[in-house]
């Protein structure tokens, strides 16, 4: 079989797998960014030592754990606290001063994965004295990832993590926020218990509250343009006027339906404010 014919067959098998997952499990991956999806599926196939997407399909349709494994393989979240120090620094400098003037603040972290950025945000809000008036909601489509996030257990932060925390403007010591257990860090209950982790699938579930701050960073990279724009419509509906939308460093609102409703905070790493 020629390489082109093999590629066509692989594409067909991928379509059938996605169709099966959508119809049987209700997870619609068909509007995900195609090149990224193919690469992740191939990697997952190698790790599972399977021959083809058809073999993966057979396993995933009959085994909910295999589905969780697949969803996990398709996700990607930062693997350490304060992974993007520049973002948290900008958040402290530009968003926190405004939050101080509000009596209560609802924050939604959409696509929290295993929770590293969620906990980093919680630490930041605590350091800034805002934790008492904030309600932090964190959601992900995958129950498996959420279960990991809820434990509040992370790989023990090292020197790099401490340095990034300091770069983000952190004043105290990162180790004040966890207790060590071997190579693991158990985050303090005051942080863990103050976060509402909830299963929410951005591709199909509606808006569930009105928020003053929404973090959705690099989560929408895995969607294609049409789905990306649909999700942005949902984020817009969920954001209060004058609320903040925090995107990834290379994500843009330019082609989304509500681009005109936002202003980018000058000099920030893609933090936007809803103005209408």
């Amino acid at each position: 079989m020629s390489a082109a014919a093999a590629a066509d067959l692989e594409a067909l098998e991928a379509d059938l797998l996605l169709e099966g997952v959508a119809r049987h499990w209700g997870f619609d991956l068909r509007s995900h960014s195609r090149p990224q999806l193919l690469r992740r599926l191939r990697r997952h196939l190698r790790e599972e030592r399977l021959e083809s997407f058809s073999a993966l399909q057979a396993r995933v349709l009959h085994d909910s754990e295999a589905l969780e494994g697949l969803l996990r393989a398709l996700s990607s979240t930062p693997t350490s606290l304060f992974a993007d120090a520049a973002f948290f620094r900008d958040f402290r400098a530009r968003v926190v001063p405004v939050l101080r003037t509000w009596p209560s603040v609802r924050v939604w972290h959409a696509g929290c994965g295993t929770g590293e950025d969620t906990y980093a945000l919680a630490i930041l809000l605590h350091e800034e004295g805002l934790w008492g008036r904030c309600r932090l909601y964190a959601s992900d489509a995958s129950e498996g990832l959420l279960a990991d996030a809820r434990t509040g257990v992370l790989p023990l932060p090292g020197e790099d993590d401490a340095r990034r925390h300091a770069e983000s403007g952190g004043r105290g010591s990162l180790s004040d926020y966890y207790t060590r257990d071997g190579n693991w860090a158990l985050l303090q209950p005051k942080l863990r218990d103050g976060i509402f982790f909830t299963q929410h699938n951005l591709t199909i579930d509606g808006s569930f509250n009105e928020f003053h701050v929404i973090l959705c960073r690099d989560t929408l990279l895995s969607f294609n343009r049409a789905l990306h724009n649909r999700v942005h419509a949902r984020l817009y509906e969920s954001l209060a006027r004058f609320g903040f939308l925090c995107l990834g460093r290379k994500e843009s609102l330019a082609r989304t339906p509500h681009a005109a409703a936002y202003e980018e905070l000058e000099g920030s790493g893609h933090i936007f404010r809803r103005v209408t």
Partner: protein, 184 residues
Amino acid sequence: MSVGLLVVGAPRSAGADVETLLSMLPAHLPAPVVVVLHRGPHDLLAAPLGRRCALPVVEPDDKDDLVPGRVYLAPWGYHLLVDRGCVALSVEPPEHGCRPAIDALFESAADSYGAAAAGLLFTGHDDGQEGLGLLKARGGRVAVVKGGSESGEGQEGEVERLSLAEVGGWLTRLAYAARGRVQP
């Protein structure tokens, strides 16, 4: 088959060679050029690489259009994938210790452009060799560029091998083939 996309991969050591390559691009290249140059978080590359290039050099945002006659440079910290006329950035884990990685770009080019993709790989790193093989298997036109003073005679394995001086001619033939598509 005519060319709809040119992908270029280079290790950090080939930065100066990439600048030279970009200066050789025809001003009316009828295809987008996508470049992965291995980089660190604080390297500012778009401006220096664009200095001698006739085409605009940009670091795209996610889901930007791929427009013919522009050079797209992979930003630090993301893989740059191509998705039929549009940029798709990705935060998948680093490959060969690199993000952006050349293999990631080349694999996506093979998937979404197939034989319409052309690829150039500067030697000096493992990253990119597997992707170049994929591109070639799908019928894309590929070549390996030896850096600096090394001579570029002949073939490396099955792949055409060029010296930096020979790349100009290779690009001209590519642009000619690509122009052929739009002329009746």
